[in-house]
Assembly symmetry: C2
Homo-oligomer: 349 residues x 2
DNA sequence: CAGGAAATTGAAAGCGCTTTGAAAATCGGG
DNA sequence: CCCGATTTTCAAAGCGCTTTCAATTTCCTG
């Protein structure tokens, strides 16, 4: 059933039917009712493509998800981010289009999106420290919002990010104040911007507490359970092992915990751990009292906010760039405690 | 740059340019070259909506992902499934459209997809035992492929599933043959078809080994690490605890392992575990020798196959239903061993 | 070199919708 | 009851592409 057929059924012109359905004021209430009833009865929905062609709007948002070519890995945070964004799109009648791409064809994909006009805007995921996408994006003529930030200047485009630097400085400082002097960082891939900022925050806090960074305590990997486990074992095998760990994801934190248990260490007593926590639906952090002390920053909420931001930008393309910096919440759980005795934290100061 | 402009630049008709770009034979090689060069130079891509309107094809596939309204949970297997499907779509020039929906608006969403014609076919996720979607899907006129099967008759529609029943029968049998008599099942939500079939396979194998099922050993939950942990602790607290466990997901298996460690049980010696393993990129099962004995069935591969199947159906809509039943591979790892002595397995038979 | 066949190009209609500009119907006031 | 103002409706153009059918050009053969 298309518009022509529907209007024939009603004995009205396409114009009137279209207007009635789209809420234009110049159609009488009586006919509007009739039209609405007929549309419902015949299960009429305007053809997306035709509508898009006529209005110049696709009513769709593109998400470009880089698939790390190294390990062909799909980050589970996308699932939650997209769930959040999807809520907003649904509410505003937008569809969500997903493109997965390796680094190779990335440029072509963005140009395609720009030229094919199948979406009204895009959300850019997983910005890297060195990333040539910014120029590209500014070149193709499509509104976009970045989840995170690119390395380099952070103005001139729309982004939504959490304050990775401050969060990790905060957590590191918290551990230092508990008397820990050897604090390890189990980070994500530091070619990713978020991981680089976390490292910077970590280093900044070490510096503020007069602790000198030790490269042996800083590792950077894809954030899997397995990597968290491996990294922790290696760290514990060090001649002078850390007494506290900082990890970039709940998933690696699971591996950290496993390694610690395996070595007979009790978390919060023998060793302390703070994890970043994206609040993924499949990895809730304990119940009332969280298992892990964590930096909480629900990625699903990021999805919602980024989507709202993009829709705003689409409605007003010439607005000055919007940015939103979210603070993570330091949530004290069971996995942190004062540095164990051998370090004699009481002696200091 | 659109087709009209491009053809004006070239001094050719739109017809010829369109034909040249789409590889029709009735255009001379010379002009084809010229057209291709100009298109490249001006970065021309046909407008998706216009092309779709003219051809009647959206060149897009819809994925409808139910969001479990109970806990607002997005299953991480979707990420990998979609990565697999996305590969195939990209290769064939299709886009991927995602819709997330709670059970409430499900029916309306499918009807929308059918009527709006914004996709050429859909992949249906997470079929339930009781599921009214089959009628709905047959009603709206769109090709579809189900990942999994609905409860009830399994013919008359296209699906791709793993042999859940046989896999779990196999694993249960394997444990029974190791002498285990108290085998617990930590299943996913048994309102889901896959989980119901797994339970059936488990029961079938128990029966074949003359073991009577014990409701206290069968639990059914959302498959999170936390639930796996909780369930295992509860099972171990039973007056007569299980000596072997079967779990429906690597993620819950992580929780199972944690609970076991916490109770000082060594996996493969004091207690055995077989996990289903979707081979998710963030939860690889150990290295050369897998940590867990597991039923391996890579969901990313399912995604690829389901996508290929759907494209085939779209090309030939009147074909008889295609179905594909994949067998999981039982992969022996370190988490299984003979039942511990107290049960005296040697006595039997 | 004529003439028909084959190869190549083009004009125009159509896909299903929105929207402009014009026409028809209705209304209110003298 | 008539006329201008206001509502309400409609015909037709246009969005950017494909495709049918017709026109033109090129080629080959006798």
């Amino acid at each position: 059933m298309n518009l022509r057929e529907l209007s024939q059924v009603l004995g009205l012109s396409q114009t009137t039917v279209s207007r009635a359905l789209n809420g234009y004021p110049e159609v009488s209430e009586a006919t509007r009712q009739k039209v609405a009833a007929a549309a419902r009865k015949h299960n009429y929905r305007p053809n997306t493509r035709a509508k898009g062609l006529a209005t110049g709007r696709a009513m769709a948002i593109g998400h470009v998800i880089p698939v790390s070519s190294q390990h062909e890995v799909v980050n589970p945070v996308f699932a939650d981010f997209i769930a959040g964004a999807g809520e907003i799109y649904a509410r505003h009648g937008y569809d969500m289009m997903l493109s997965l791409t390796g680094n190779r064809e990335e440029a072509r994909l963005y140009r395609d999106l720009g030229a094919k006009r199948s979406v009204d805007g895009i959300i850019v995921h997983a910005p890297r420290v060195e990333d040539d996408r910014l120029d590209l994006l500014q070149d193709i003529n499509l509104p976009f919002v970045v989840h995170g930030r690119f390395g380099g200047p952070t103005d001139g485009y729309n982004w939504l990010d959490m304050n990775n630097r401050r969060a990790f400085a905060r957590a590191t400082g918290f551990l230092a104040e508990l008397g820990h002097r050897r604090i390890a960082l189990i980070n994500g891939l530091e070619s990713m911007d978020f991981a680089a900022r976390r490292r910077d925050g970590y280093l900044e806090a070490l510096n503020n507490h007069a602790l000198s960074p030790d490269p042996a305590l800083m590792v950077s990997h894809e954030m899997t359970e397995f990597n968290g486990y491996d990294a922790t074992l290696a760290l514990l095998d060090l001649p002078c092992p850390p007494t506290a760990l900082l990890t970039s994801s709940m998933i690696s934190a699971l591996g950290v915990r496993r390694a610690c248990h395996e070595r007979g260490l009790v978390m919060g007593r023998d060793i302390s751990l703070i994890s970043h926590d994206d609040d993924l639906s499949y990895f809730r952090n304990g119940g009332r009292v969280p298992d892990f002390t964590s930096l909480r920053s629900p990625v699903r909420d990021h999805g919602r906010r980024a989507a709202e931001m993009l829709l705003r930008v689409i409605d007003d393309p010439d607005s000055t760039p919007i940015t939103e910096l979210l603070e993570a919440e330091l949530q004290i759980g069971l996995s942190t405690g004062p540095a164990p005795a051998p370090l004699r934290p009481a002696r200091q100061g």
